[in-house]
Symmetry: D2
Subunit: 299 residues, 4 copies
Amino acid sequence: MSSAARATFLIASPDAPGLVARLASFFSELGLNIIDASNHTEVFTESGGPRFFMRLVVDLSRLESPQAVQGLGGSSSRKSLTDAFAKLAGSLQAEWSVAFSDRVARVAILVTKEPVCLYDLLLRQQSGELPCEIPLIIGNHTALESVAENFRVPFFTLPVTPDTKPAQEAAVLDLLRRHHIDLVVLARYMQVLTDDFLKQAPPVINIHHGFLPAFQGAKPYHQAYARGVKIIGATAHYATKDLDQGPIIEQDVARVSHAMGPEELVRVGRDVERVVLARAVRAHLERRVVVEGRRTIIL
Amino acid sequence: MSSAARATFLIASPDAPGLVARLASFFSELGLNIIDASNHTEVFTESGGPRFFMRLVVDLSRLESPQAVQGLGGSSSRKSLTDAFAKLAGSLQAEWSVAFSDRVARVAILVTKEPVCLYDLLLRQQSGELPCEIPLIIGNHTALESVAENFRVPFFTLPVTPDTKPAQEAAVLDLLRRHHIDLVVLARYMQVLTDDFLKQAPPVINIHHGFLPAFQGAKPYHQAYARGVKIIGATAHYATKDLDQGPIIEQDVARVSHAMGPEELVRVGRDVERVVLARAVRAHLERRVVVEGRRTIIL
Amino acid sequence: MSSAARATFLIASPDAPGLVARLASFFSELGLNIIDASNHTEVFTESGGPRFFMRLVVDLSRLESPQAVQGLGGSSSRKSLTDAFAKLAGSLQAEWSVAFSDRVARVAILVTKEPVCLYDLLLRQQSGELPCEIPLIIGNHTALESVAENFRVPFFTLPVTPDTKPAQEAAVLDLLRRHHIDLVVLARYMQVLTDDFLKQAPPVINIHHGFLPAFQGAKPYHQAYARGVKIIGATAHYATKDLDQGPIIEQDVARVSHAMGPEELVRVGRDVERVVLARAVRAHLERRVVVEGRRTIIL
Amino acid sequence: MSSAARATFLIASPDAPGLVARLASFFSELGLNIIDASNHTEVFTESGGPRFFMRLVVDLSRLESPQAVQGLGGSSSRKSLTDAFAKLAGSLQAEWSVAFSDRVARVAILVTKEPVCLYDLLLRQQSGELPCEIPLIIGNHTALESVAENFRVPFFTLPVTPDTKPAQEAAVLDLLRRHHIDLVVLARYMQVLTDDFLKQAPPVINIHHGFLPAFQGAKPYHQAYARGVKIIGATAHYATKDLDQGPIIEQDVARVSHAMGPEELVRVGRDVERVVLARAVRAHLERRVVVEGRRTIIL
């Protein structure tokens, strides 16, 4: 039974009058109830004119009603729904995507040695806070294998050196494909991914343990200490070929004092990192994030 | 020229399928562009079933276009627009209101002796941050008359004692009416308003210098000190007959330590109070606030 | 070799001139280096006059130097040091305690079914962030036994009903004694402890998932939702016979919106709870907390 | 009568055993009560070895007691006290300063056109929150002259162009000297001060409307918008010849969303700026700030 199934549509298009009405009417004319809707118009965009963004969560329980069947031209299915929506989107020059709530996203976690973010993601998934499965953990060290075991998640160790990087990344990509991974989360994975890898992989979310754009690169807490800042932060962003330059999804901060050495900044920062990473992963999984140039819109 | 004029509609109704589409289509069929739209469905309400809330900001620049004229039955005016919307709202059993951007809200500020919130509101109004006029300040003391003078705002002193309270409140109400006041802001006005006053007055926003519902009543910072809390706060809410029980519009907090005495809590708290009050007033003036029982929805 | 051993002294006394000098000189005359010192004078106290609080961390590596031996009357040991300090403290009418860094505190965790705080404490202990051992976890349900197993900590299930409460608490006390427990942490232990238990147990830290003193008692997030607050919080405090009335050690908050139902407040609140609890436990273990009436001083 | 007078000593020296005791004993042997004391040892410093920092607030009401007179060699005065302290400090190779509470600091404010920080400082000074006098406001525009008039503070307009900069800075310095200014606060003064000016001026505190070290230079809110950050901030620091590189005294942040354009970031940021600036000025005036390389210690 599909009574609880929902479809979440994410749309980005040039702005125009009547967009909310046209998109909402598309579903209401099919008798499908919009459960949640939010939209935003970005006035200044890198691509020029104003752009319109909308997220629509649609209850599919009446997809087989006569009204929907008729509106979709005689047969109602998810495919006929998305085909019809594609036509509308085409007429609006819109980019769009759709996700179905009963098709749970599959997330791979990449780690090195630091356990906190890994535990955090596993616990949140377990408690139902993150709407996803985690069928795969990959480490470039063996350090966290026992954590994966405790949660009964397959763990693959793929060590990497400068020489073996191409082969290792190919092996990672192969695992991602075999496991039908939709999203990769770097939970303190201490390796820079190549542009080549990123082009072939599903979306990749990284947690940077600094308040970007300050303190890019290595050892951000040590940089923060040396500069004497009074607040530190963490930044979750999509990984792009430019290190620590990808679109920011979420950030948060914590107050620190001169009395805290670099080690203590690390400790305080860990609590920020994992919360920021979890919020970003959750927003992505709920299809709330649209990338627009170097910015993200969170709907 | 009315090109910049906007109408902001606030709607609250029982939830039903197709509401977003029906409301949005109403405007798009008239050729009026929706600039900003947000909605929320409250699943559990005091009144029983789920309720739907929507805020729609509509550009009126094409109100005199043939499409609008035809859609509104031959003559297009703000009145014909609101009449037509009233019919739609009636069919949805909706409560609603509309405000026009070129009809600036008129705000009265009530004060006693504490200058910080008063200065803050006046400066924000002056800088364009608060979309309103402030034609009237009323004090039950003369202490802040010179502040009003600096900003060239009429100041009326209406002292109050337990015996003269009814007469004083009548005088305040008379001033509010004569000045066509739309909103009253209590900027640390150290008097409890009677239920009778509140029934006759426009909406009243109060700032309570404590983190409600903790520390109701007098001297909240002293209460907070005695209880040894590590965080203090301030709460802006609509005034109701039950002291400090009205619907909360905005809250914020600041961290404090054992080393701060009650006086220092007052000092730290002042910075929170004025920001919280200004945010609440701004949200009200932008027609973002809907009251639903003891809660507020901020759209 | 005891080169790294440190002693942390916590002192509370009536205020008097020269206290910092007298306390600091006591150690410097023995040739012992003060690594960290902080003090606070509380002007208004429940007990009347001003009180003085000081925390002193002393490096013991030179405890066997001739200077220390001579100053302590011919033989230097931890006992002779604390005996000498006791004399000084007596002359100041001071309450005091001392802890040695190489005598690691032993912490028991009490749980019911909620895993987040338990995982959090175990992980922080594992990473060295909490200077303690965790030799014992007690649950009134079996739900979290596997978590304890993963971390190889003995887990005892002691179910409780109103009828068996006295016997269960006696069994808990017995386990605490057998395991030489110095501190009990209630990590979402869903039972009220009796006054009788608290009198016999070591100090007990509880996490209340609300911003005390608002929202005492059960289901604080549901209370917060009903009241429409814009910020929720969590409070770590010492358990006392008056439920949720004990001295507050740490609090923190998170911003919420009308769009979040009670379930979502629970989710957001969990991230606050565990951080607040961990900070409180850490402060206690580092001997930074002094209770003064209903307040705490964090040195 | 000097009964309320206090002296605040700030000391920075190479770390050594017994420093707290030696410094505290200096005062207690004179019978002078230490009201407030805090200290910090910085393990890693730019200058090499560990450094010790201490702030001592001493009650001078017993400066003329026989004990003090004897201890200071027969005559007790502030000068004999500071001479004696200078000897002790010399033996510790300490840098130090002293300030007397009845010798109120004189602060000059430099402004351009933005009124918020100026009002804020004037109001805080008026309410007693900032322990200083403000005898002088200098603007490179006339825009804020009326604000100064409202508070009855002398206002000097000294316009500046690239050509006239040396002459204008000389005129500013002349005014600072004539008014015996102890501290200069740049309250959104939109001019870069030359190294030459800074060498001759008293300490200068600047507010940067960005979260340093991110977003240095001009238009930080526009930079923040373009980068899509989710949190903005403000930074108060001592001005040095390297723009926006001086030691940070205080920072704070505010959460923003994609929906806020650059103008709205400016508005939100203003509330952060003024609070951060006021806290930094207050910390400086209370002699809590020690500069150590690029960092500050706040005692």
